[in-house]
């Protein structure tokens, strides 16, 4: 890969301009309704300059920063999921004709997207969607088409939130594989600038057209410091080595009933999860029945109807639904796809109105299992235990 370079603010604007000139819709973080969301951006002024965030289970607020950082928040409200895998997608349209009916397949013709400022956690989630939606025999044509034409410009996370645990999941704070360009925002005595590295031919091509300067050892050291500081400030931790067996061994744990008392079954965790990909198919027809549209819409294992089979829903209790979700995410997903279904972005904690903390639930399951195993072994006779 090309050598590391640095880019000043003017250079960053010219990157956005260049992407737009090449026909990309540049989608990046911006502030809307007191939250950092993903939307189309055209200038640096659209970015959340001087805005940080405060995130805890069930709690999110933006907060001002005094350093003017453009990427000083942890995560956007939603990941790249709604951009590459929209909540409602028209698959095909059928029209009744005198001779029968005609079917027209929908092909997304929206402009190619450059995801600007995607975090390591969300980048890893795109990689997971690539495997699940494209890397299997039945390819998701709509996702594949968007993804083929997309460009990923990742940014190292400098200020993780209280719900973040990407360091535990190995997805951040420095973005891993899959980006075209990786930026690290540097704010020190040397000025406001970005270390920029290309990680794909498309990224190298974009970088070659920018006015950059070779990165110095000091620039690299500053970037390493950003990563080290962020790693040290993860709000949450998740022990991962035992997850697979722990979840399966916990199938009958009383903890599921405990979490069910708090769980609202509202689906928020799955809706904001960057890897949750469950959908339902809906047919929408007009009153005449002459036009029918088939839509693919996001669905959630937390809704009752999701598990409806002949005769009724399979998972009627909320505990069964939470168990299904967590066990799939952390144990069945690795069996199915060879990777964790969790990237440690922390959104399921933050956006749970009841503040249910995945890392705390796993810790409780682990404690409960250890307790159960101790009881099974039985206490040693007091005489030998003194």
């Amino acid at each position: 890969m090309a050598g590391r370079r640095t880019l000043d603010l003017e250079g960053l604007q010219s990157l956005i301009d260049a992407l737009r000139d090449r026909g990309y819709r540049v989608v990046g973080p911006t502030v809307r309704d007191d939250a950092v969301v993903l939307a189309e951006i055209t200038t640096l002024q659209d970015l959340p300059g001087g805005i940080g965030d405060e995130q805890q289970p069930g709690h999110y607020r933006t907060r001002p920063r005094d350093d003017g950082a453009l990427f000083g928040f942890a995560t956007t409200v939603q990941s790249a999921k709604p951009v590459l895998f929209p909540a409602n997608e028209l698959l095909w349209r059928g029209t009744r004709s005198p001779s029968g009916f005609e079917v027209s397949r929908d092909v997304p013709d929206d402009a190619p997207v450059a995801l600007f400022g995607i975090r390591g956690c969300d980048l890893a989630a795109v990689g997971i969607h690539d495997s699940v939606l494209v890397g299997r025999p039945a390819v998701d044509a709509h996702y594949a088409r968007r993804r083929d034409r997309s460009l990923l410009i990742a940014v190292t996370c400098s200020t993780p939130a209280g719900t973040c645990f990407c360091a535990s999941m190995g997805t951040g704070p420095r973005p891993g594989d899959g980006a075209d360009l990786v930026l690290t925002e540097l704010l020190d005595a040397e000025g406001h600038r970005f270390l920029i590295e290309s990680e794909s031919p498309a990224g190298a091509d974009a970088l070659a057209h920018l006015v950059t300067t070779p990165a110095t050892a000091a620039d690299q050291a500053a970037a390493d410091e950003v990563v080290a500081t962020a790693t040290a400030h993860m709000g949450r931790r998740l022990r991962t080595d035992d997850l697979h067996d722990l979840l399966y061994a916990s199938a009958e744990s009383p903890r599921w009933s405990d979490v069910a008392e708090r769980c609202l079954a509202c689906t928020n965790c799955t809706m904001v999860c960057p890897t949750c990909f469950c959908t339902s198919v809906e047919d929408v027809s007009d009153l005449s029945g002459d036009i029918d549209e088939r839509h693919r819409v996001w669905d959630s294992c937390f809704s009752l109807e999701y598990s409806r089979l002949h005769g009724g829903a399979v998972r009627t209790s909320t505990g069964a639904r939470y168990r299904q979700w967590l066990t799939h995410k952390l144990a069945a997903w690795p069996d199915q796809f060879g990777m964790s279904g969790c990237v440690g972005c922390g959104r399921c904690l933050t956006w749970c109105p009841a503040g249910i903390d995945l890392t705390a639930e796993v810790a409780a399951l682990r404690e409960e299992l250890a307790h159960r195993e101790t009881s099974r072994t039985g206490p040693r006779p007091p005489s030998t235990d003194h």
Binding site: D33, A35, A87, G289
Partner: protein, 271 residues
């Protein structure tokens, strides 16, 4: 004479807003008129075709002895009976009477209460007759109404989701007003269908579509209390258009101000 199925629209204790939702389907009314014969709809036309009717839309709750009898006649004269709106499906805002003593209301409001024949409870249509399809909302959503009519005309099952409003907030890209702004919101326990209208204009959900399929009202109430919402405000949040539904009734009752160990549930009556 048309061979189209006949449609009747009935009103019980209600504000007419749900019937207006049908009239507000301006772009679809002509298409609808080509598919059904509007046989009885006093809100729209004086023309009356005698029953029986293939499809009946029923608005309003049962609050009088006369209406309790009339709904039986409507049921007998109807093929498919569809209840429309919070009044018809849960008893409506007038089900607030269910928490109080109706005779006290009568004595305060009317000069001659003896002339008023009313029931002491406002009840949903389903408490009296078999209902084929229920459409929630105060008022109903016109897209859902058209979906149900279209589905009935085509002989298929209507798509009426029973999950929470949160799904619709996320689908439309609305940032959670509860988590990001601390706004009290009933969305997590309320059935979708409105398209998450209120949160999209930065308001909490009022719960006008009633309880979702798995409403954990106790957990939401605990969350609201932890956010600093006073006990009586929690009671009022659950005690609005769908106060008559069992989950919302029980949760609102659990947050009533206690006036004594065995105090009967009462609401304040002001003139």
């Amino acid at each position: 004479m048309s061979e189209n199925p006949t449609l009747a629209v009935w009103k019980f204790a209600s504000c007419d807003g749900c019937q207006l939702t049908l009239l507000n389907c301006e772009d679809e009314l002509l298409a609808l008129a080509e598919r059904v014969e509007v046989a009885y709809f006093p809100e729209a036309t004086g023309a009356v075709v005698s029953g029986p009717y293939d499809i009946s839309l029923v608005e309003g709750s049962i609050t009088t002895p006369a209406d309790a009898e009339r709904i039986q006649q409507v049921r007998a004269a109807s093929g498919l009976l569809v209840t429309i709106g919070a009044c018809a499906t849960s008893g409506g805002i007038q089900a607030l009477r269910n928490f109080a003593d109706v005779s006290e209301f009568l004595s305060v409001v009317y000069a001659h209460p003896a002339y008023v024949a009313t029931l002491d409870r406002s009840t949903p249509i389903s408490a009296h007759v078999t209902v084929d399809v229920q459409l929630r909302g105060c008022p109903i959503d016109r897209h859902q109404l058209l979906e149900v009519l279209g589905a009935l005309l085509q002989g298929r099952r209507p798509r009426i989701p029973t999950f929470s409003v949160c799904v619709e907030c996320k689908q439309r890209g609305t940032t959670c007003v509860a988590v990001a702004h601390g706004t009290p919101c009933l969305g997590p326990v309320t059935q979708a269908g409105c398209g998450a209208l209120c949160p999209s204009v930065d308001r909490g959900c009022y719960g006008c579509f009633g309880p979702s399929d798995t409403p954990n009202t106790a957990s939401l109430a605990a969350t609201l209390r932890a956010q600093g919402v006073p006990e009586d405000a929690v009671m009022r949040l659950f005690r609005t258009f769908n106060a008559g539904t069992e989950p919302f009734r029980l949760e609102s009752t659990a947050h009533e101000p206690t006036t004594g160990a065995n105090a009967a549930p009462r609401t304040e009556v002001t003139s």
